[in-house]
Amino acid sequence: MSLNKKQMIKLFTNLVRTSHYDKMMYRRMMQGKLIGFYHPAEGAVAPGVGACTFLKKDDNLNPHHRGHGIIHMVSKGIDVSTFLAEHTGKETGCCKGRSAFHFHYPDDKVYQQSGFIGHNFAPTVGWGYAAKRRGKSQVVMNCSGDGSYGEGRAHESMLMCQNWQLPVIFFCENNGMAIFSSSEEMHPTEDISSLAQGYGMPAVIVDGQDVFAVAEVAMAAIDRARKGKGPSFVECKTMRFNEHDIGTPDLKGWEDRSEEEHADMRKREPVRLATERVLADAILTQTKIDGIHEASLKEIEGVEEFADNSEICLPSEEELLADVFVD
């Protein structure tokens, strides 16, 4: 599958947008203007963009917790103004300010962000079951990190999705780290996707810094699933430029990650790589690129204004209690 110009522009635009979104979240967290914590996605925006830009509204998405899903949701075309409002604890938030990071966009088929790593895997089977049972061509894009594949739930999900040939993509964003733990130490083989072999599930590994490469394999996997050919595994080799979550030290094991490691990583910053590519291939001019950045910043300004101008709501205990169950 090879990308056309329009697709490349869309990917590039989403890459720029999402990386500005991530920077905005980082900035606001540092300014004390976010609730809870934030797990910055800098260095690792390309996988989510590649996975989600060409999903349909009806496709199920489990966004990776890195970037708190903003990369994936923006790329899927979800209006994230209520997401920032939620992260600032406002009444206009997607969960009425109750959830901190547990967003919910059911109309866009984003049902959860679990606080428990690996808890994306179990309901994935159910989304796939529902898609298959209803005979729709809906696919399930299940994005999570290398670390999440330590959980037994990953196994149960891959096993069952392969048994039933469900339209699921196990999309692993392998940044080589889980908090302080390197995947070299925590996973016995070079690639997380070797797990797929155990189930006879097709797997592909891709450079996660190259949004176009990611999109190509993602589209192939989506296409496969949509045609009823069953699940597959996509592993993106990516990076984490910052600490795990803002404020936590940036260690590997129990020692600081080295300056060299950081310098090396920064060489493969995905927006820069993509910019070089679109310029080299004459897909976009520098002026157009500048315009995309400007539009993104403007979009984000609007989202911030919406959040900041919204109210904090403090319902009474009785009101809240009445909201625990529906009739």
């Binding site: 199920n60 938030g93 997607c94 969960c95 009425k96 300010g97 109750r98 959830s99 547990h102 919910h104 059911p106 049902y111 959860q112 679990s114 428990f116 808890h119 895997f121 179990a122 309901p123 994935t124 089977v125 159910g126 989304w127 796939g128 079951y129 529902a130 898609a131 049972r133 037994g152 739930r153 196994h155 149960e156 999900s157 096993l159 069952m160 048994n163 809240l320 909201d323 625990v324 169950f325 529906v326 009739d327």
Partner: protein
Amino acid sequence: MRTITLIDAIREAYQEEMRRDEDVFMVGQDIRGAIFPHTKGLVEEFGSDRIVDTPIAESGMYGVALGAAQEGMRPIVDFMFGGFSYVTFSECTVTTGQYHFLHGSPRSLPIVMTAGVGTGQRLANDHAMSIHGTFAHHPGIKVAMPSTPYDAKGMFKAAIRDNNPVMIPWHMGIMMLKGDVPELGEDYVVPLGVADIKREGSDVTVMANSLQLQHALKVADKLQEEGISCEIIDPRSFVPFDLDTVLKSLEKTNRLVVVDEDWESGSFANTVSANVMEAGFDLLDAPVTRVTLPNMPVPGGYMEDYIVPTPEKIEAAIRKVLA
């Protein structure tokens, strides 16, 4: 009215609701072959994409229900034995219970969870424990347990139609208990959250459920001969709990025994006791007295028989509050 067993009553509830609504389906392990008879014959009628067997993978199995419910379906998930719910406990308590509320209450999760629970098979703790108390501790999940075939059919139907997650186990000790239920085709539900006075009386109120309700009724018969009149309340639901019915009964009797086949510590019996004290302190002529499992893992073998609440223990508790 017909006379059928409790387990058959549950099956009828599944059948009728699955016929009524395409989105209702079951997921479990070995339910097609009916490892417990509540699923007997269902696969023949509904096919194996609605009577779904999974590998031995409780999280994945529960995930079928959770994901499908998020997609608007109405799954019934069968854990086989109640203790097996603990194998995927974070999902079936925290994730499930918080789904609706934490997201601002826009969408509910109509999942029915069930399992056989309780003592009687001498298989020890992991195959004999109760789970209603544990689930009742975790907000956002309704919890109920039927005591008669009539209630079983009506409560399972109510649970399946309920838009909230409901944990509704059934006690293996009364699985073959027979009782009257309306004719096939007569649609009825027993609403969750409404206690039932299974026997009226005036001297002492006894709250009991499931197998323990049967014990309590026997004790009431016996004490009646001595002129002691027991009012027996079946809570039916633990969440929501019908405290009013208990308080009203106490206005008459002023004495309460709570029988609960669960460990004393953290039990639902304690929740009842604490709430009755706060809401009805002045109604009480004696402390609320509890008959529960002692705080020890349920032993298997012969020892099981005399660790559980028995008619003798219930009788002793009644005599104590009357003393």
